[in-house]
Amino acid sequence: MNSIIFSKNKFAQILFSTPVIIIYSLIIIIPLIQAFIMSFTNWDGVNTATYAGLANYKMLFTSPNLKVSLINSVIYSAILVTYQLTLGTLFATILVNSTIKFKRIFKDIYFFPVLLSVSVVAQLWLSIYHGDFGLLNQILKMLDPTWSQNWLAEPTKGIIAIVLAESWKGMGYHMLIIYAAMRNVPRFYYEAATIDGASPTQQFFNITFPLIGQTLKVCFIMCVTFGFRAFEQIFIMTSGGPVNYTYTMSIMMYKALFGLQKYGYSNAIAVFIVVICVGIMLMIERAFRNTHVEY
């Protein structure tokens, strides 16, 4: 697989990779290492930090909010993956294979929610879910007066309501990636399969699916880890509240940083988030390793 084109051009290797390595190290890696070091200190963000050992991590693992945050993050990830990948793949398949009209228009429209800023989408869904005047409750009230709910103000229900809004907003993002990957599958595979008499369903599972497997894996990782880092939408809609019903790991980190003003503690939470995400990524990589197909 190694290309001969580079083996004779060591200098080009260095030249091509240096800009990214330098910028990435300066902007991401070094600050990240500093943040990691700071997670072992007490720091108010301004004055000299004092060494605190593992105190911040102890505080994190004994926090009553940790369990709720982890469970909510898992729910968040699970729903994101299910909603976005299922619908994303479904729409991409229809857009690539079906002979329906207006495909481009459909594709563009499905992407619109992705383009809007989070604050707009969050405001819209806040109005939809609002306990007193929300669209959802108005509709439910018409059906049965007892069905109206405090959508965003109860445990579990709250986080599900938020993640549905988030999933809806981001679906087009993954749909477009999957769509691009499907378009990239060479046509002649399908032509050959059709000649061999394979049905469209067989073609999907035997040709499309394996060939876009790599892309699906990437989308899968992005969805799951995004669930653990998700912040803006939750922050605008509920800020983690009421109480800690809609807390997630990143809300916890934010509260530690801006509410409690404990930089060391918030860095410890950040480190924990990174560890979880990298762990998930490696697990998924491993799980997908055997299914990787190269034509």
Partner: protein, 276 residues
């Protein structure tokens, strides 16, 4: 035959309903921008404005320096996208073509950047930007945005490079075309579809970015749109109509750019599909 007609109708209905749900927020935002607080929050949150207030747009345009914010956002987004994608194109080419342990580690480390919550590295990052002597220039945002765009760009481009047959460049190289010519004339043009996709994604991200801009930009003449819009909303009371109007104005470039580029992506993909 009949079965497939029913299926088609079903697909049309399903697709149309979902299209409606996807389109509504834009319509809702347009309605919103023409209302007052009373309609927005209590009397009429979802329908068209009963007494359209076009003055909201006038206020959004005149009371705030929207033109300046707009210009800054455009500069920052443009340079961070062009430079960022260019650097990643080069980097990922090496990583995809030279498969050693080092390049594997490099790729993983960069991709892992996706999982870092930005707030975690904010303070050290600000100090870094200052030490790089970038403070109070557009570069104080451009450089961090470039770096933050790396992980996603590497993921996308890596997939494309790997799927690109090596025969093409190798035969060109054997024929005596130099290394750099081979890359820039043979390989780079083939990367058009993923690059166009990246432009859309990165532009969206940079155009709407708020958290970093808030701490990195101190001069009001350098403020980007999201930062400028933040001063519309107050802590205790706000007139939300003009906020909506400014959000509509701020969203337009993203929507226009998307429609423009998505057609380009489509053409580019159709082209590359044909070749196969």
């Amino acid at each position: 035959m009949k079965k497939s007609t029913i299926l088609r109708i079903f697909i049309y209905i399903f697709m149309s309903i979902y299209a409606l749900i996807s389109l509504y927020p834009i319509i809702w935002m347009a309605f919103y921008s023409l209302k007052n607080n009373e309609e927005i929050f209590v009397t009429n949150p979802f329908g068209p404005p009963l007494h359209p207030k076009f003055s909201n747009y006038y206020r959004a345009l005149t009371e705030y320096n929207i033109a300046v914010f707009f210009k800054n956002s455009a500069i920052v987004s443009f340079f961070s996208i062009v430079l960022g994608i260019f650097f990643v194109l080069l980097f990922t080419y090496v990583v995809a073509r030279v498969r050693t342990k080092t390049t594997g580690v490099l790729r993983t480390v960069v991709v892992m950047g996706m999982f870092i919550p930005v707030q975690a590295i904010m303070t050290p990052l600000v100090v870094m930007v200052k030490n790089m002597k970038l403070s109070n220039t557009h570069w104080s945002l451009i450089v961090p945005y470039i770096a933050l765009g790396f992980p996603f760009a590497v993921i996308v481009l890596y997939g494309f490079y790997v799927n690109l047959p090596t025969d093409l460049e190798e035969s060109a190289y054997m024929d005596g075309s130099g290394f750099y010519r081979t890359y820039f004339q043979i390989i780079l043009p083939l990367m058009k579809p993923p690059v166009l996709v990246l432009v859309i994604y990165q532009f969206m991200g940079n155009w709407n970015e708020f958290g970093l801009a808030l701490v990195l930009i101190t001069k009001s003449s350098l403020k980007t749109l999201p930062l400028g819009l933040a001063s519309f909303t107050g802590q205790f009371s706000t007139e939300w109509g003009p906020v909506g109007a400014s959000l509509v104005i701020a969203s337009l470039p993203v929507i226009i750019l998307y429609i423009f580029f998505s057609n380009k992506v489509e053409d580019a993909m159709a082209f590359s599909g044909m070749k196969n």
